[in-house]
Amino acid sequence: MDYRKKETTVVVSQKEISAGIFDLRVRTQAAAYCVPGQFAGIFPPSDSRMLMRPISICEANAESGEIRFVYRVAGEGTKLISALKEGDTAELLSVLGNGFPLDAAEGKKVAVMGGGIGIPPMLYTAKKLAGKTAETEIYLGYRNNDTFLASEFTPYGTVNVVSEDGSTAYKGNVLDALKERGFKPEVIFACGPMPMLRAIKRYAEEAGCIAYISLEERMACGVGACLGCVAKTVNKDEHSHVNNTRVCTEGPVFDSREVEI
């Protein structure tokens, strides 16, 4: 269960599934070694750009040998990546980081929560949790009714689609919906924008449940060497003993109690 390589992969397909949101599938042996919550570094096809773009694994299929990424075009790098077409090659550094501790969900009431472009890794998470939990409720937060990926969650739990503008079933944020439904998870798995993760951290502390949250930080190496990507921790970190842990290797998934966000 350990794979870490930089390699040239082949693009199986790429399409724009929503405005500015792309679904990219590549073929690589790494597909057999992924855990939900892990990510890959995709290098923009550009020889003036040195750094990879960390993108979460949205699905990985050992049989087909395919990894799927769903990402938003945020800047020049992702724009270049979005121009890749079937048959093109994509340089990938994978598999990076630690995924969600799925075992912690065994037999529990679980909330899977994703916000915005944090939703893709939660699809893979929900899928891998299927059958393991006592109950899975899925909360997906969007800005409006452009609810990319939402329909794909249906097989894996009760899906609650939340939007800021109220154009979906629930209005507000994912925690509003959870409270409205009166769901009381024992474990939360979450990825999304920082305000959402902060709210979840607070909620988990108050409600006495455990939340695993996936953090984002600027990265250079992706493998723990450069110390570029640290997050503040409550306790001394393993590596430098300075309450600054590496998101790329100790994360990106953390027990919300461990990090100061």
């Binding site: 870490r4 390589k5 930089k6 290098f43 020889d47 003036s48 750009r49 040195m50 750094l51 990879m52 790098g77 550094l93 930080e217 600027r218 990265m219 250079a220 190496c221 992706g222 493998v223 723990g224 060497a225 450069c226 110390l227 570029g228 990507c229 640290v230 997050a231 590596h239 430098s240 003993h241 300075v242 309450n243 600054n244 290797t249």
Partner: protein, 301 residues
């Protein structure tokens, strides 16, 4: 075909090292390359006590380069000796420890602690642009550099490499000061201070505002400085700045470097160090060059 070089009596299998701060203590990249293949491993800067470094964002990309403002986060010399040096003992590769500090005393503390370890050389970082005290303050004034070099030489049990900053008017003045104070070698260049602004947010991209520029973008500046220093001092030079390929490394060697370091490019290509070594071997073979040592400074011949 002979790729061996020696620096201050330390024999290297080949001239290819890792640049401090871009390769951790080797652990992380040991999954990509055989560490025993390397000429030497230069570790991340280590201080007398743990340093937390700067707030994030600490890294960003620039054209053919990157900026970093890590701020020398490190676990301090105790953990470093127990964990990192212990890890490296299992490898047959000389270890060069990069040392940082805020005061001369702090540097000396680390230097003394390393005295009875198996470390092959010390690289003194007086050129990090990302911390407010110490570091670069010693690296931008010839007299300050002379002083700290002299003090370190008094205590050091291993050969001392002074790592120079490119953020100076005349790099040869610094090289000469280091040599005059007894440095066994110099390494250059550290990063060039730079800045990036996010025009959409109208904010600095790095929390520290400025960062150090590295990567292929700076290579022409680094090669020039190595060339200048090779003509100014007679101690050996470890050259670095944007090395990505064997050709790049050979540029430095032909300019006068005895050894080279691969830095930021490790992030783009974790196999870069070994690819540089292999490319160098091919170059020697293809050009019927017996030893890499013939090439040191050959651009002038």
């Amino acid at each position: 075909m002979d790729t061996r070089v020696s620096i201050a009596g330390v024999e290297l299998k080949n001239p290819v090292m890792t640049a401090s701060g871009t390769f951790g203590s080797g652990m992380e990249y040991g999954r990509f390359v055989d560490l025993n293949r390397l000429g030497a491993i230069v570790t991340k800067g280590v201080a007398s006590v743990p340093w937390p470094g700067n707030p994030t964002p600490r890294v960003t990309e620039t054209p053919s380069g990157m900026l970093n403002a890590i701020g020398l986060q490190n676990p301090g010399i105790d953990v470093f000796v127990e964990r990192d040096l212990a890890f490296l003992k299992d490898y047959d590769v000389p270890v060069i420890v990069n040392v940082c500090g805020k005061t001369v005393e702090e540097y000396l503390e680390v230097v003394e602690r390393l005295g009875d370890t198996s470390v092959a050389m010390l690289e003194i970082n007086v050129s990090c642009p990302n911390v407010k005290e110490g570091a670069i303050a010693f690296g931008q004034k010839a007299d300050a550099l002379f002083h700290i070099t002299e003090e370190i030489k008094k205590k050091a049990k291993q050969p001392v490499v002074m790592k120079l900053s490119p953020n100076v008017t005349d790099i040869t003045e610094m090289a000469k000061a280091a040599e005059a104070a007894g440095a066994d070698a110099i390494s250059l260049i550290n990063t060039i201070t730079g800045m990036k602004i996010d025009v959409a947010k109208r904010k600095f991209v790095l929390a520290n505002k400025t960062g150090g520029l590295s990567g292929p973008a700076i290579r022409p500046v680094a090669v020039r400085m190595v060339y200048q220093c090779a003509h100014a001092v007679s101690i050996p030079i470890i050259g670095m700045g944007g090395i990505a390929t064997a050709e790049d490394a050979l540029e430095f060697i032909m300019a006068g470097a005895t050894a080279v370091s691969v830095g930021a490019v490790n992030f783009a290509n974790p196999y870069a160090t070994v690819e540089v070594i292999e490319g160098m071997e091919r170059y020697l073979q293809d050009t019927h060059t017996e030893t890499i040592r013939e090439l040191i400074g050959c651009v002038d011949r």
